[in-house]
Symmetry: C2
Subunit: 408 residues, 2 copies
């Protein structure tokens, strides 16, 4: 992270891991910023992350028009393609052969904690090989589980999708009743599932129950919780993280996978399985007949037009700041979003060590989860609201009474 | 349907069946129009369809402010609540007791073909009982399967959701590869699934394959189709109607339900099951490893903010026209949307006999489905485009080449 002398050379940028609705904002932010700095000569994009470096599958981003880049920035999912790949030592060796050949002095890798780890590995290899370059991780993940970050680009927009989905679904459930379970992305961290709370306009709106992976999930307790809500509201909307686990840390989905896999056909790692299982178990344990489950799936991370404005802005800024840190002579790091204390929502962009962001994930702090472990706190609402930005409002009829008439 | 003398009295309106994103437009259209006609005295809403009539669970819609009604019109799902209930003769008797008591002379029931059937039953009962009233069905259904209609309110907005979902998902699939199967609502009619075609901007965009219930579905043929697309594009996005059946008319989902139910736990009537089954079968039959399935579920019909503008406008108009027909003295009917022939998209609102819309559903005409039964035709695209309205555009990088460098 130490500031070194200024370097000149070409720039290479790539995207990795799960796409988001604003990951191209970061790409475009970096590409347009690079044009402002004489140190950066050619701006090259690698297709499908480090796989594109190994294959020399490159595109010339310097020739993209600002108009097309702006359109790309508003298009969801990774415009350069993505990959899930951890480089071996041999991969690193090859990568550096390519970096040398193309005189790459600025490397930017957009992604989550796995991507940060890869960036860290590449940086370490470069240092050991005595290759002078600037090496940066540009954060993104809808899971919001990167350490050192108050929140991450992509999360706000995914949360905007989830909030809206629950708003609509709460209306649907109001109209037809029963129990509705929605499974939300998030293997280890419950932030995205928890964001469903923003769907509430009225006191009796759903989600009425929220289960995150940070708390052990128990089917009997779940059934009891739902029955209590049914008694109060005559209906129940539930938000569940895909990664919920039992008290021994075994994912709920995995417990059932084994059971059924031994019998044959049914794939339970498929996306609909957890929701269907919870619905079946709930029916069995509660006697409630109308129980439905939806799994939001990939829609959450790449739905066109459902974007949090602050998220889009911040994602762009992360790309811009990465390039600025690099040309200013910072040798490596991850661009992290941190929040200024105080009532007004303001963020800063910090350059943190790669190893601090790599691998391990961040979880929801205790203060964000209610005591019963089936909901979130006001502290979480205050945290998440400005990240998600403006949401539509759901209106109700005022239910003015009609004077009862007597039978004639 | 014969035009009779003008009636005066109170108006009762209710909603039934699956909600849509614009079903409240129809409600608000009717309520605001009623205020313009002296014949209509009190405007009453029944909660949860005919159940609310039986329970005299009424709200006074006359006291709603236009401002709140406008907000409600933009809120998805049935503001008056919904129900799935076919009235018995005893129910009809009770309903007419209530209609008499509250001096209801104008009855409007918003819903699909089941709702049209109920409206028809109520109308018949009223005629036999010698009760003078105006009785109208106001069409809605995301399935787009009402006879006499070119298309139905709710379909355009659901189709706008489905198109956008496929747009984003196609980008996701481009980034990470493999096969992605998306299960779309539609038990008997494939219109909504077929609308996924609007997601295509570039020739190689998905959906690459579209399966509708109007054509028999075969797993071996499906696997063959996917392998062909994989060979051509290296990836594949598939749209499947939830209602696909085999050549004997057995729903694919039902065939597997039995098989697995005998082993116990897994509920296959749950929404994720069909997608998971198709993914498992495809992996087995094709050897492709990355196969994912999502089921769009209820999001399709009630996602806030994803509305087709023509759909919202037409849904409102259906409510307005229903009231106009009624006060003009037409005794009963269903308000149907028909399309004027010609290049420019224009619709008319016709009053058609209730029995023509009741019960039976409409299917996709042959000219809309390709010969192979795995895609749609240009005729369908021309049909559906104006119904769905404006969609976002997905942009790509231009992929300007980078000059290959030789190893030093």
């Amino acid at each position: 992270m130490a500031t070194k002398k200024r370097l000149s050379g070409n720039m290479l940028i790539a995207q990795s891991g799960g796409p988001t609705a604003v990951i191209n904002q970061t790409l475009v932010g970096a590409v347009l910023e690079a044009r402002k700095h004489g140190e950066v000569e050619q701006v090259i994009g690698a297709m499908h992350g480090i796989q594109g470096i190994l294959d020399e599958d490159f595109v010339n981003l310097g020739k993209e028009t600002p108009a097309n880049l702006e359109k790309v920035s508003q298009t969801p999912s990774s415009a350069l393609g993505s990959v899930r790949k951890k480089p071996s030592q041999e991969d690193c060796r090859q990568i550096f052969e390519v970096l040398r050949k193309y005189e790459i002095r600025f490397f930017f890798y957009i992604g989550g904690n796995d991507t940060a780890e890869t960036t860290h590995l590449i940086h370490q290899y470069g240092v050991e090989a005595g290759y002078e370059f600037r090496c940066f991780h540009l954060c993104k993940t809808i899971d919001n589980d990167l350490r050192e970050n108050d929140h991450t680009p992509g999360f706000g927009s995914a949360a905007a999708f989830v909030s809206r989905a629950f708003m609509g679904d709460n209306q649907d459930n109001r109209a037809l009743g029963g129990v509705k379970i929605n499974v939300v992305m998030g293997r280890g961290a419950g932030f995205l599932t928890a964001a469903s709370i923003l769907a509430k306009t009225y006191e009796d709106d759903g989600p009425h129950l929220i289960y995150v992976p940070e708390r052990p999930f128990s089917l009997p307790r779940f059934a009891k919780d739902v029955k209590k809500v049914m008694k109060e509201h005559g209906r129940c909307v539930v938000a569940v993280s895909e990664g919920i686990c039992d008290s021994r840390g075994t994912p709920i989905i995995a417990k059932y996978t084994k059971e059924v896999d031994s019998h044959g056909n049914v794939q339970l790692s498929g996306t609909g399985a957890l929701g269907d299982l919870l619905a079946t178990e709930l029916k069995k344990r509660s006697g409630i007949t109308r129980v439905r489950a939806d799994t939001f799936g990939y829609l959450q991370r790449s739905f066109p037009g459902i974007v949090s404005e602050p998220d889009a802005k911040e994602a762009r800024e992360v790309g811009i700041r990465g390039v600025r840190f690099a040309v200013r002579g910072v040798s490596s790091g991850s661009v992290a979003i941190q929040r200024k204390p105080g009532a007004r929502y303001m963020v800063t962009y910090e350059c943190v060590p790669l190893k601090n962001v790599a691998k391990e994930t961040r979880h929801m702090p205790d203060e964000f989860i209610n005591e019963e472990g089936n909901g979130v706190t006001d502290a979480f609402v205050n945290y998440v609201k400005p990240i998600v930005g403006k949401l539509p409002t759901m209106a109700r009829l005022k239910n003015h009474p009609v004077k009862k008439r007597k039978n004639s």
